[in-house]
Symmetry: C2
Amino acid sequence: MGPEELSLLPVAVDVVVFTVAPASNGRKPRLLALLVKVKEGPFAGRWAFPGGRVSSAETLDEAARRELSSQTGLARVFLEQLYTFGDPARDPGGRVVSVAYFALVPAAPALRTAARYAEAAWFPVRSLPPLAYDHDRIARVALRRLRAKLGYSNVAWSLLPPEFTLGDLERLYEAILGRPLDRRNFRKKALALGQLRPLGRVRRGPHRPGALYAFASRRPRLSPVI
Amino acid sequence: MGPEELSLLPVAVDVVVFTVAPASNGRKPRLLALLVKVKEGPFAGRWAFPGGRVSSAETLDEAARRELSSQTGLARVFLEQLYTFGDPARDPGGRVVSVAYFALVPAAPALRTAARYAEAAWFPVRSLPPLAYDHDRIARVALRRLRAKLGYSNVAWSLLPPEFTLGDLERLYEAILGRPLDRRNFRKKALALGQLRPLGRVRRGPHRPGALYAFASRRPRLSPVI
DNA sequence: ACAAAAGTGTTTCTACTACACCCATGT
DNA sequence: ACATGGGTGTAGTAGAAACACTTTTGT
């Protein structure tokens, strides 16, 4: 056995956090991703997904949550492992094996700006700035996964606040899929799944009020959805 | 930053190789997985999926192919990354982050028994022996993925020889899904997908000859299939 | 009044399911 | 002749897609 057999590698996690910007002053809601500014190394100054090294006593999931929380203050997100990127050349500053995650949070929470947090901001997924490392690739994989999961799971739940109208839900799907959906068909399917609980209240606004709903079960499910 | 921030970890790959045992003397074809005997450590003597440490200059895919080839002689397999297991306690001999792969090879090739190869054997997936480490978990994830991929990709291609009958294809699906399929419906769908090229020849045997087919494109595709 | 979102049914088409009999060959 | 796998069509059902107008509210 050569010395390579015993090689130890830095292992990192990178987290792609998606959210949806609520519709505002006439603009449709948009899918956003969270980026932080790289502080050091060859890519200093560029944007990248939050992440960092896995320490020796934690699981990968724990590392992802810890890094996300420490860099951006976000916690209690929906988190799922995405893919592991291990190309020796993916980080010119030295080989790092990175386990990528994707995460969902409801309604673009305001980011903490305290000094303890990294410089972070939400960017529209349609127009991300140039990213550090191989994070373009990670972004593509994450978006593909999110869209695919819309079709066979209820992950969309994790992007909505506790109460929402059917219009909110539909616009969410449209923002992620990047195409319009038929309102009547969408409502039929959404209601037929039996996962929505009508709250008996309405949301008022400068137009006809919409009935408010909540998800019957808060936990992610794998039943086919929409 | 504490010292954990700089921790280096052993990174390994583990490969779940599936194949299908051809039907023989009246028994239906069965889905098999390849196991090797663990030589050292707390699990010495138990069976595990082939794999090993990733060395410093290779990609993860390369490491998977190298380990598979060096331990079992198998090459040119269909290979796809599955999931990364990083629980600190998954290997009682010391923490190892393992990137699991799943691989498909046609028609259970005879395994090399030369001294340079590990002791390896094919086992029916239905009745695997007790496995080392957390490889039971890896096995479940791999089987779930294989079954899911049958539904929306043409991975089955990689499990069949260059020529086959529709009966072969159907029995392959039945072996993986673990349930019988309707022959007429299966043939309709398989042919309707336009991925099969009739070879104009038949396979003879102690019964009516079956028309031979080949896959129109050798490359894996993601078009919905069966 | 008007702007803006909510709400509602029917028809068409497609895809999936269930189901049973005859055919060609080797032994 | 018989055992074995190969080959074929139809009817019923369920789900997806296309499609336009009326309602309710705030301003």
